[in-house]
């Protein structure tokens, strides 16, 4: 085993987080989601499995949804990161959030930020939002509460409201 002391080496990074430039000195082994949550207080991204399966930690890095638990914070150096807080603030998720609210497409809410960001990426991708495609697009995000149907309904409703 390596000397555990070596694990705590540090690097300086500069990341655009929700539109604001952030400079920080961080442990190199720190995951992106832990940095966002524990160092920047952006607790809307959740840690559900820490091995890239559940999708609760989904964040947007340079325009693409990624697992915040599978990426090191140092890898985000120079990148632009958007979290649920930023996407809410900018209004990018408004139609989805309204649809989720009206359709009761969340219960405990733990998966919801990741689900919303993933759904937004899908809707913005231009693929026809039929139910099978929505289910496929959301199949990397676990929800243990809803059984998914309300989420699929809400994404379909948001797609419809975008078309109008």
């Amino acid at each position: 085993m390596a000397d555990p002391g070596e694990d705590e080496s540090f690097r300086d990074i500069t990341v655009r987080v929700n539109g604001e430039s952030v400079r920080a000195r961080i442990p190199v082994r720190l995951s992106l989601v832990d940095w966002l949550r524990d160092h920047l207080g952006l607790t809307g991204s959740h840690v559900g499995c820490e091995h890239g399966v559940c999708g609760a930690c989904t964040v947007v890095v340079d325009g693409t949804c990624l697992r915040g638990c599978l990426m090191l914070a140092v890898q985000a150096d120079g990148a632009s990161v958007e979290t649920i807080e930023g996407a809410t603030q900018s209004g990018r998720l408004r139609a989805l959030q309204e649809a989720f609210y009206a359709r009761a497409a969340l219960q405990c809410g733990f998966c919801t930020p990741g689900m919303l960001l993933t759904a937004a990426e899908f809707l913005e991708g231009g693929e026809a939002p039929d139910r099978d495609a929505i289910r496929e697009a959301l199949s990397g995000n676990y929800c243990r509460c809803t059984g998914y149907e309300a989420i699929v309904d809400a994404v379909a409703a948001a797609a419809h409201s975008r078309e109008r």
């Binding site: 705590e8 952006l42 607790t43 959740h46 649920i84 989720f100 609210y101 405990c108 733990f110 149907e149």
Partner: protein, 792 residues
């Protein structure tokens, strides 16, 4: 007490949950989002062995690691914390050894906490945990519970004489005579594989001692903060008033977060010992290995049917794998009882016998998980019912209908000891037939199967005992609150401040209670703020378990609302110089018999709070009220329903796909149909998960092999069908509102319907499966495409 107006009001209105806006914006406050200045982060060193003696633990290297504040063992915590042992009058003779927050000389399951490392970050604590050297002497592990009863079986606890935690033996009626005279006997042996709840937010606790006041503040992801407060006070020898437990938002519970866990107690004890805040967030593998598991059973059951095609008797033997200990405080054996007593409960029958051996194992502790035991009861019953219908050449729904417990048969205490009343089996079945368009669907399935597909349709009628009353634990001497309380206060601006002892874990009871209070007082629910889940502000009560929120908490809310309404009207009448019964409250204003507004709630409240001299002498309005409610009859509130599932089997790969699922259920008066339907759907997903995917598997040495979400499969959006939900509303006759438990019905019957659907399809190939989850491997073996598994 006046019952709610049956006309559409707030009770029965499909309103979205107000608090979900916060969660949608990423502004939830889950326990892991909380931090305290000076806190230490915890990492548990957990046993890699299923069973081992611990001879020595060397923590020097870990303690010397930079950033480490403490490495604690049981011998350290023993100065501030007592161990516990599960004892219940409901389970006489229960054998479950003493449990410790950290291992005391021996570990009895893989994942048992051995040492607690506290450091300035979780990462450093994990580094240091690797430096703790434990001298284990591995002992033989009891991991195959089917051989656990043999005379030379490996003992899960060497100090015990055998592996039996508890034995249940119950019989009523002449079972042997019923079988001797039966025209048909059907039987099956069904294997249920251990699974667990997997709330997406792992268990999390942050314990913060206050050296000055002596208080301990505990923030925890939990379903019942009051119960935990009580046990912490006992274990840590503190007054309950000095232990403050709050939950904030809870990222899913499903029964998993309602138990006393050694690791959580160790965190609270460590905080007391060190006088510093300590935070622990379970990672996923810890969650999989150390959350309670559930439902490991082999049930062998027979059902007797007479010459008229009527069910006459059940005879059941259950082998139930309990894990290393019976969970504290409720006991894991509650699952045994609830897996067996509801067998046959939807039907009229005369005789019933059940024997269960509950086995201690060197595996994780099991405990209550959504719809405790009932999915097993439903699966056993409905497999037998389908077998009988098939043997008799009867339509499965017609056979069920003929045998159903009918309204005129109730109320009744059935031979298994369940009090059954207010059930609507035939009405639910009628609604289901209409919903699925039964004849057309059958024809469609026949046509598709003729085209080479392999489709099956399965049904499961169910009875679920919900909203456990004061008898369930009270008589057993187990301190579990079955009474709930709501406090309500009129604010000076005419809005309401409320608190309740039931808890919100995402199911939406907060919205439901506000709708009940709104209707009871006469204002809009958005004028009510409700605080839940904090022992410092909420009255003592049950929390979130057994689908009690609306059925028990709802009655307390209604009672509080009506009392406050009376106080408001009495004060208004005194001011307006009229009789209180000529006034009403509507849309937040005091109105007369003609509906004309006489005074706003704000005006009244301001008068009482700020200009009390305007009130007549002797009028002392009580604008803060508390109302408690306990049910005075019926140990539980039975609910019923029927589910149907349409599945397709891929005969090449063995994959089963659920194409569509239907639920018709009766949870009595529905407070919020939007939220109830989503409870049903979410419950169905967990039932389908258990039927097709989910399994906590151990190898022969008790090594857990499904510790990640890549190994433990959960249903994803692509695997779940649309679920059609409909209701029959038969109000519970023992309460004012008439609500019954709604949150677990989906889980109660879904797995049984899916297994029956699989067997309906397999029957076309002369095959069947009696095991869940119905993995592709099992399906292919049943179809003869894989060789049968060799005997070990």
């Amino acid at each position: 007490m006046t019952a709610p107006d049956p006309r559409p009001g707030e009770i029965g209105r499909p309103r979205p949950r107000a608090e979900s806006r916060r969660l949608l914006a990423g502004r939830g406050r889950y326990a892991s989002d909380e931090n305290r200045p000076g806190q230490l982060h915890a990492c548990f060193l957990r046993s890699p062995h299923a069973h081992a003696a611990i001879h020595r633990i060397d923590r020097e290297a870990a303690l010397a690691h930079p950033g480490v504040a403490a490495v604690l063992l049981w011998e350290d915590l023993a100065s501030v914390c007592k161990p516990w042992r599960t004892v219940s009058g409901a389970f006489p003779g229960l054998a479950s050894p003493t449990q410790y927050p950290l291992a005391s000389g021996r570990v009895a399951w893989q994942g048992e906490p051995v040492a607690l490392v506290l450091a300035h970050s979780r990462a450093v604590a994990e580094d240091a945990a690797e430096l703790v050297a434990v001298d284990y002497e591995p002992l033989p592990a009891q991991a195959d519970y089917r051989s656990a009863l043999e005379p030379d079986a490996v003992l899960a606890h060497p100090a015990m004489k055998d592996n039996i935690a508890w034995t249940m033996d119950v019989a009523a009626g002449d079972v042997d005579a019923a079988f001797a005279s039966a025209a048909l006997v059907v039987e099956d042996e069904i294997v249920f594989t251990r699974h667990t709840g997997v709330p997406l937010e792992p268990r999390t606790v942050l314990a913060a001692p206050d050296a000055a006041s002596g208080e301990l503040t505990v923030r925890i992801s939990h379903q019942m903060p009051h119960q935990l407060q009580l046990h912490l006070a006992e274990f840590l020898d503190m007054p309950m008033s000095a232990v403050k437990v709050s939950t904030g938002d809870v990222g899913g519970g499903f029964g998993i977060k309602m138990h006393v866990y050694p690791d959580e107690i160790a965190i609270c004890a460590a905080a007391r010992l060190l006088g510093r805040p300590v935070k622990f967030v379970a990672d996923r593998i810890e969650s999989m290995i150390a959350d309670v598991h559930a439902r490991e059973h082999v049930v062998r059951a027979r059902m007797a049917v007479d010459g008229e095609g009527m069910i006459t008797a059940f005879d059941i033997r259950d082998l139930h794998g309990l894990g290393a200990y019976s969970v504290y405080p409720r006991s894991s054996t509650m699952e045994t009882v609830m897996a067996l007593r509801p067998i046959g409960a939807a039907y009229r029958y005369g005789a019933w016998r059940a024997h269960a051996d509950v086995i201690l194992q060197n595996k994780a502790v099991t405990g209550q998980y959504r719809s405790v035991g009932h999915p097993i009861a439903t699966t056993v019953t409905e497999r037998l019912v389908d077998r009988a219908a098939r043997a008799l050449g009867r339509d499965p729904l017609a056979f069920r209908r003929a045998n159903y417990m009918r309204p005129q048969d109730m109320p009744v205490t059935n031979p298994a000891g369940l009090r059954l009343l207010d059930l609507s089996h035939e009405a639910c079945l009628d609604r289901l037939v209409e919903l699925i368009d039964y004849d057309a669907l059958k024809a469609e399935i026949e046509a598709e199967n003729a085209n080479g597909r392999l489709l099956g349709l399965g049904f499961a009628a169910f009875v679920e005992m919900t909203a456990s009353g004061t008898e369930a634990y009270g008589r057993a001497g187990v301190k579990v609150a079955a009474v709930d309380t709501v406090t309500l206060m009129l604010e000076p601006d005419g809005s309401l401040k409320a608190a309740a002892s039931v808890c919100e874990i995402g199911q939406g009871i907060s919205q439901g209670l506000r709708q009940i209070i709104a209707e009871g007082v006469g204002l809009s629910p958005d004028r009510i703020s409700l605080s839940l889940g904090d022992t410092a502000t909420s009255p003592h009560g049950g929390g979130a378990w057994a689908s009690r929120g609306a059925a028990i908490g709802g009655e307390a809310a209604w009672g509080a609302a009506r009392r406050l309404r009376e106080e408001i009207l009495a004060a208004a009448a005194a001011l307006l110089q009229c009789a209180p019964d000529t006034l009403d409250i509507a849309d937040g204003a005091i109105v007369d018999a003609a509906g004309r507004e006489r005074m706003g709630l704000r005006e009244l409240a301001e008068t009482v709070y700020f200009r009390g001299y305007e009130l007549p002498q002797g009028v002392q309005p009580q604008l803060s009220v508390a109302h408690s409610w306990r049910r005075e009859r019926d140990a539980a509130v039975p609910t019923n329903g029927i589910q149907a599932s349409l599945v397709e089997i891929d005969a090449e790969t063995g994959l089963v796909r659920c194409l569509k699922h239907w639920v018709v259920e009766d949870c009595g008066r529905i407070v919020n149909p939007l939220l109830v339907d989503e409870q049903i759907r979410g419950g169905v997903a967990q039932g389908i998960g258990a039927a097709l995917f989910e399994a906590c598997r151990y190898d022969g040495e008790g090594q857990f092999v499904t510790g990640t979400l890549a190994d433990y499969l959960l249903p994803m959006a692509g695997e779940m069908p649309d679920v059609v939900v409909a209701h029959v509303e038969t109000p519970y006759s023992g309460s004012v509102i008439g609500a019954k438990g709604a949150g677990e019905a989906g889980t109660c019957g879904a797995g049984a319907a899916v297994l029956n659907a699989i067997n309906d399809a397999l029957a076309r190939r002369g095959a069947s499966i009696s095991e869940t989850p119905a993995t592709p491997e099992l399906v292919l073996r049943a179809l003869g495409r894989l060789a049968p598994e060799a005997e070990p």
